[in-house]
């Protein structure tokens, strides 16, 4: 058993607080145990230059961390004048993962900008950002449906992410910071609902690991994301209740 008492295939306590931000079109404060990430989705009525006049939209992401989100304080990137390599890697991953489940033709020439800001970090901030980011993105797009700016919701399937790793030789799901620090291998999986793989990033922290071990990590990720897909759905349903501004309008009657 794990130090935390969790079973090897158990997630931490996962909680979604959708629509927590007063201004953003979509938002979600997501908890993976003590990891807390505030994700907002902002609708912008213009696209990057390479998409102008193509009729297609875009989803992009930025990632940040409050200085004291971490055990010892991390220098503020704005004060240092540049983003760390790690930050850049993570925000590129979030953007790719969310783009994979959006029909850009249906989205039309607009951009959704997803901001994931880590309020508290205890391992798995990138997977929480993607998983919560999906909820914020879904809600922002639903707002466009509600206002008839979109005829159809452009999301094609759900996406969620989870980390797995080898700790003391054993494959475990959803590592917290202590486990992550001691892991021999560390993998992040982004899976689509229905079982497809969107992205895999696996790294041996010590010795190389075997293809067999790697397959076990894939299985754990499938278990973990299956549960995340359920929780995402519940969060979205909860967010819609009592929010007439998010309700899908009836179809336009033919004239």
């Amino acid at each position: 058993m794990r130090l935390s008492g969790r079973a090897v295939d158990a997630l931490r306590v996962i909680r979604f607080e959708p629509m927590v931000n007063k201004y953003a079109e979509g938002s979600c404060l997501v908890h993976f145990g003590d990891t807390k990430v505030l994700v907002t989705a902002t609708v912008e009525e213009k696209v990057p230059p390479f998409l102008r006049n193509t009729g297609k939209g875009w989803v992009t992401a930025e990632y940040g961390m409050l200085p004291r989100a971490t055990h010892s304080r991390t220098d503020r990137e704005a004060a240092k004048g540049k983003q760390q390599g790690r930050t850049v890697e993570i925000q590129r991953l979030i953007g790719r993962s969310l783009r994979a489940v959006v029909d850009m033709q249906k989205l039309g020439e607009r951009q959704i900008r997803v901001d994931a800001d880590v309020i508290q970090a205890d391992g798995g901030t990138r997977t929480a950002s993607i998983t919560g980011g999906y909820v914020a993105l879904w809600l922002a797009l639903q707002k466009l449906v509600a206002t008839r700016d979109l005829a159809e919701h452009p999301i094609t399937r759900a996406v969620a992410a989870i980390s797995c790793g080898l700790v003391d030789g054993e494959a475990v799901l959803d590592l917290d910071y202590d486990e992550d620090s001691r892991a021999e291998a560390d993998a992040n999986f982004v899976l689509a609902e229905g079982g497809g793989i969107v992205e895999v990033q696996a790294t041996a922290e010590a010795d190389p690991f075997s293809p067999t071990q790697f397959r076990r990590l894939v299985e754990l990720a499938e278990i973990g994301t299956a549960r995340l897909f359920e929780l995402q759905k519940e969060a979205i349903i909860a967010a819609m209740e009592g929010r007439p501004d998010l309700a899908t309008p009836p179809p336009l009657s033919p004239e």
Copy 2:
């Protein structure tokens, strides 16, 4: 009466959530109405170069804003590679204000770094940062007292800040964003408990204002901070309850 229904000398709903951050020595999530600022205080066992070997400590502050803390999204300073002039001004103000109530000799050669990050902005983020920053700072210093790293708590008096302004010709207290946008004059007051002035910044947004009008703003600030000092005290007391790690140890018995 004001658009919000508040009396001219009424604060918004003020709420302090002390010790919300798992890692920081001191922290406080402060609400001034819909304005929410997360402040953390980090103890560092080294001082800036100009204070080395002086036996004196330092308090410094950094300020940031989540991109979607605002009505329309603000570009991320880390991505742009530099802090805006407004950010720099505010963090310098926070630092000066908190330093004004700390006995640097008693603090000894260590630095307290205060991070104020705006989660949601609806006017008054700098005054909320100072007022909540005081609570976070007090608690971080108390932790040093509890561990006997400090013999005495080095804070000399409480400090709090509030904005006042002239809106439609009338002096009002604690402006929200809508009032601030329409104000003819805008002033931020940092006052110490007992009535002393720590800092005043007043600006005419339209025509110059008169010394008489200015005196009325000073009076409102005194009313507002009097209430903030009470609330700060309650928050600190609440934070201490049931937290043995913050309890002041008994004096060392003479040998």
Copy 3:
């Protein structure tokens, strides 16, 4: 009496040298004792994006300091690749102060860019920049009147700035560097001709100061700026003499 021999309410020797720069539309080398600031005002026939097609103009300011303007050499900001927080604060203050006395509608869609560069610093560089900046700005605008690019001079009233402070417990006017270093409180006042307040920035350097002490500082600022308004006027008149390129043209005769 003060170390310098000045009375508590006496300015240093103030001198304006208007139109010293060969190229700028308006310029003024201003001396506040040993503090010397060269201010130029440049007319630009375009405005910032937020003012396009509004018919309104803008005034903006930049501030700099030669490396050896100060007692010990200050690193060159261009070489360090960024402006200090202090620089940014000061140039924002200069811009706000000058904008307060310009009728932007009358100015029309053009921008005046005021550059204040400190040649030698002995305290009060920001107040000298505003006070001399007013002269440079007035002259640049007069040039537009002389060429009939402006129908009316768009300045609504004079503006001047002065520092006051508490030194050894006494309120004094126009601090030099030595006094500033020892001051218990330091305040900068920007006042408009006629007595209105444009901006106040007051800071306790040591203990908080009382509202009574603060009122005394306001009175000193009123005495000091009254004298500055006279000197500004003399400087402008002197600059106009013998400069036909600055003469206001006769009104257009009706056809």
Copy 4:
């Protein structure tokens, strides 16, 4: 069959030119078809701060691309003043991959800095950098063995990298730029000799792909790297011939 005429599991023409640089301790110009990367390995007798006084060494990497390495010119990162996100990601991957096969205790407190500069890019620059970087690193370390600065060669096993992808629904090995642009999925594998996985990065460019398809990519990577390990060995042997400065000295005789 592929557009290039290659079988699905065939590598492009791979060529290593070891020790091409006059100054570097180790170097290798590696060709993967028309992709050419010059890799140098520099020995530095100091380690990053976090390793000081630990007795352990470090391997780090930097990656760059000449502006006209690409079909259309890419802006020079030095001129733009920052490295792109893609650059940062790749250099972090190269560093991790090479560190995975070095015994840092045996290396001792020194750092090897690997520079991979793309002279011409036709797909697979990161895998070429790792694969050629291994050769440059091995040779630089051998130089330390030859001078008796190292008692033992600290590399524990070979490492090589190759890309695989799904193109027109078919899994293929070692994609060139044209294939890469059309791929539905793109994966980079870093494998250690003996079959262990060091790093996997797989991304769906269009629809998510299935675990079965992914397993096929893993198999192709194993085929490709098996061949790369042979070629690396040949290159190292060729480099050693006739280079007495790289010869391992006889063991020290006991006294």
Copy 5:
């Protein structure tokens, strides 16, 4: 005689490898002894703002050095976020030198961007960049002639550059790094075919040198560049052979 065995007026082994880059319109890998510079010339169908709608073109240059081009490793400018003063000086010199031999009217509104990247540095990298840059530029322009985008080749005369210096009191041609390090004076000459001077930069590294010594350096430069003009021509002829895409088309027949 010189350490290298060369006569005082002898060049090192000079070699041009034209059209080595798969993508660039023109390219040349030039060797001056162990100094190797890869130069590419890129045709861009737009000009800098100051030339828009003038009918004239532009030639600009950028210069870089691989980190381990030098004896000890040089930090990567992209990683440091800025170009060194030396880099900026050299790229400005390359640009000016090549512009001096191009008829901008004949070039028309397009820009040629020349990238000179030092693969290995053993003295004289700027002179090699100009001399090889001429070849790359000539070939890129010939490509425009071949496609009838240009009616006439816009180069007016050849240009080449060489360094001379005073080493142990003797004037010598084409210094390598060892000579350069010991030189009492160091001069770079850019000469046009036919004997005109395009640019001279001469610096006393120790004591000032005499006008007589300087005249001797000019003579050596004339000897050296005379040989370089021959070699450039041979390289261009070799590059044209068997490259139908570079052949000048027959004149358009009158209709």
Copy 6:
């Protein structure tokens, strides 16, 4: 004759105002016609890393230009966050030129930092900076002699700089901005007293120029600097008069 009425070998009105800055160890405001440069020399008791523990000193220079020193306003480099290529070139030239006449052994382990700031630019700012910089440097070093921090004045000979050029086919001395803009060739000469060449930078702005024309430019430079050496001497003598703090102390009597 020239547009300005000057003879081809005549300098503009040259004026030195030594010791104009209250704080710097040495300073000089130098006028070359309407070009005005304020140069200060600052003594620092530490040297760059490469000179530590060598017993040798260093002289370095920085160059800047006030935004409205020029006919149309130049953007402030501090605000843009980087120095232009032109700035970097000029400050490197000033530093090299002044170092050429200082005995670094006699200077000892200290650095003199020369700041040249252009107050008004009308051509020749770099030559004015060097020529006036010599005066400021000489005076700063004399101050060290006066305080017995230096046993001997470490300057070995005077240095001065002047521009020459070909304007309308004629060689002329000391170009102003209008001449410089129309020049076919532009050369800057840094000469040492006694006739030695310290630095030459000559550029053809249009067609290449001939060695004969170039020799004429050298002759003019010799004429111009001969006059500058006289004026520098007069300025230094004037500065010393009535300044006991600059007087050379009597030799120490033997004990």
